[in-house]
């Protein structure tokens, strides 16, 4: 997971890249077999214990999801916690520092 969180006037702009195959469950491999669905279902971001972002994804989100959002009320030096979970139960949770613009 690559995250860039930049604060300007208490508004934080976050850009994320999560490496994930985001298999739709409809693609066939070279042998003609269906590749099982495997995709991120939820992404959450929290700051000081409060959720500031929550998204539900389906397999229509591109491979290696790259997305951006903004939230209020944090400053450079604070930490942002980001977690995701996929349809097979894999998950990742990490803290990232918010930096000044």
């Amino acid at each position: 997971m690559k995250v860039k969180a930049v604060a300007a006037n208490e508004v934080v702009s976050v850009k994320l890249l999560i490496q994930h195959p985001m298999e739709t469950g409809r693609r066939k491999d070279q042998g003609g077999n269906i590749v099982p669905a495997h995709f991120i279902t939820e992404v959450t971001a929290s700051h000081k214990g409060q959720d500031v972002f929550h998204a539900e994804f389906g397999p229509g989100v591109s491979r290696d999801p790259y997305f951006a959002f903004q939230f209020d009320g944090a400053k450079a030096g604070d930490m942002l916690t980001i977690s995701w979970v996929d349809n097979k139960g894999s998950s990742e949770k990490s803290d990232f520092p918010i930096v000044a613009m």
Binding site: V11, T24, R26, R27, T41, E42, T44, H47, Q50, D51, V52, F53, H54, A55, E56, F57, G58, P59, G60, V61, S62, R63, P65, Y66, F67, A68, F69, Q70, F71, D72, G73, N87
Partner: protein, 152 residues
């Protein structure tokens, strides 16, 4: 003798902790992936699964930015923003996909209604965005011409 000062503070701290846990729990419990909406094969069904039967109106207050032509349907950049107050949810759909709902965002008290995401599009069709504010749904859409489909 009654309870000690230390005991009193311990009890109060415990009570406060349980209260704060309880106030967080319902949100956690209900924050579940909406499988009905994501598996719906028609856009209208996906909207109903997500939002029930709230009235929908077309709105120019939601700004949707997409390319007119996408060379690769596997990566179509979509941006959504709005100055409309009171938005609590924004969802992105690709009308022609096998399952039209692509992503649904909770606009929490601290989330700004300003999002971008790369989506898959099976073929040429409309990208539709629905925002919920109060008990109404606001819709905007734009056509994207897809050269090579991105869902195969």
């Amino acid at each position: 003798m009654g309870i000690s000062r230390r005991q009193f503070f311990r009890t109060m701290a415990g009570a406060f902790l349980s209260l704060s846990v309880m106030s967080v729990l319902p949100e956690r419990l209900f924050a579940r992936w909406n499988s009905g909406a994501f598996k719906a094969g028609k856009l209208d069904d996906a909207v109903r699964e997500l939002y029930g039967t709230l009235p929908v109106e077309d709105s120019s207050a939601i700004e949707l930015t997409v390319p007119e032509v996408a060379d690769d349907g596997a990566f179509v950049p979509v941006s959504v923003s709005s100055g409309m107050p009171g938005i609590t949810s924004i969802s992105i759909f690709s009308e022609t996909n096998f399952s039209p709902l692509v992503a649904s965002f909770d606009i929490l008290p601290r989330t700004r209604p300003n999002l971008s995401l790369r989506i898959r599009m099976a073929e040429t069709g409309k990208v539709v965005v629905i925002a919920k504010a109060g008990d109404r749904l606001y819709r905007t859409s734009k056509l994207v011409v897809v050269s090579v489909g991105g869902c195969g």
